[in-house]
Subunit: 223 residues, 2 copies
């Protein structure tokens, strides 16, 4: 050892690579679903496979980290939403934010990775926030009365993936990516407006159970 004051020689590069990896993982996962390969992720990040495995012991660990980060974003958006003075703006901003940072990209890996305690805790917290946002909007009378928090969760997941955008990104059509982002923003705005209390016709069917949303994350360990 040369002493504790020594700093890692290429630490800055390492951090840049880590960010690139997480970003690439999200994109490839969005485009390829559960079959996304580590090779594709590393290539997209412009990084060697070795670098990926130095930071994450397995593919699963990478995905777990990704899920945790995604939940962090959700929680942050939820807190910002509750901070907003207007109940409608708070909820709408939350849904829009979640949809736009690609919350739904993780859908395909549901059930393929083990849910860590960290993830579990963050899910709890984000559920809390979402319930609060929905309740506040209901009390203010700005949210369609028959919409539940589960509906909102599902809507976020549905909007949080853009097949068009994902595909263009992975195929390298950078010229169209901006247009796709813009297009998605419009769809989100349309769907969010559909949540407003203005609509008199009740929603079809009955309110969905939370089980729908949670059970897909149980990891099957049986053969």
């Amino acid at each position: 050892m040369t002493g504790p004051t020594r700093r890692a020689p290429r630490q800055a590069e390492a951090e840049r690579n880590d960010r690139a990896l997480l970003r690439a993982a999200r994109e490839v996962l969005a485009a390829d679903g559960a079959h996304a390969s580590v090779a594709a992720i590393a290539a997209r990040a412009g990084v060697g496979i070795g670098s990926l495995y130095r930071r994450y012991r397995t593919k699963e660990e990478l995905f777990q980290r990704l899920a945790a980060l995604s939940l962090d974003s959700t929680i942050e958006a939820g807190e910002r939403g509750l901070d907003a003075p207007d109940p409608w703006e708070g909820l709408a901003g939350f849904v829009t934010a979640c949809a736009e940072f690609g919350q739904g990209s993780l859908g395909p890996i549901a059930g393929t990775i083990e849910v860590t305690e960290e993830m579990q805790a963050k899910v709890g917290r984000s559920d809390e926030l979402m319930t609060a946002l929905v309740a506040r909007a209901h009390e203010a009378g700005v949210l369609r009365p028959d919409v539940t928090a589960v509906d909102v969760s599902l809507l976020i997941e549905q909007l949080g993936r853009s097949p068009v955008l994902d595909q263009l990104r992975v195929r390298g059509r950078d010229d169209l990516v901006e247009a796709a982002v813009n297009a998605r923003a419009r769809l989100v705005a349309i769907a969010v407006d559909g949540l407003r209390a203005t609509h008199t016709r009740p929603l079809p069917g009955h309110a969905p159970t939370p089980r729908l949303f949670t059970e897909r994350w149980v990891h099957d360990t049986d053969g």
Copy 2:
């Protein structure tokens, strides 16, 4: 030859199998995306791989057939929508129908199969119908004025996939499938309501170009 009056012995079974195959292909494709394997499709249809390859010479041919059928459904829904006396009901019914028969499942194979002439023609016809539906709704003043036909196409594609439903189906959780179908119907209703002219706030950004929607279907043949 024993004469032209002879009928194929097991023709009924063959037809049933064909329907099962197409249905299974849609489901597996929806769940697994572009990586969907013929083995998985045959297994889900409860049919041997041999039977699949007797009817379709290649995997690509099966997918092309599927795409053509999907376009048929779109066209039929479009015609029904135009037949409806009320412009709003016509458009809303069209969007709902397209979303619910899983139009979006084909998204992942865009660009991985060659577009046949048959498909091309049907795309043309369905574009025509959609444009007419949107125009009629605009003239009647029931559709948000800044919504274009491309927006509607993209919305249909976005709604026409239900990650939750797809996953539950393929994982055999038949007990939850009905609930998921119901939940999706609610989301579709919400999003469709967002298209109404009632909304005063303009949509963000600018109208999306049709290229966004079409270019992903070009098949790359380069190495």
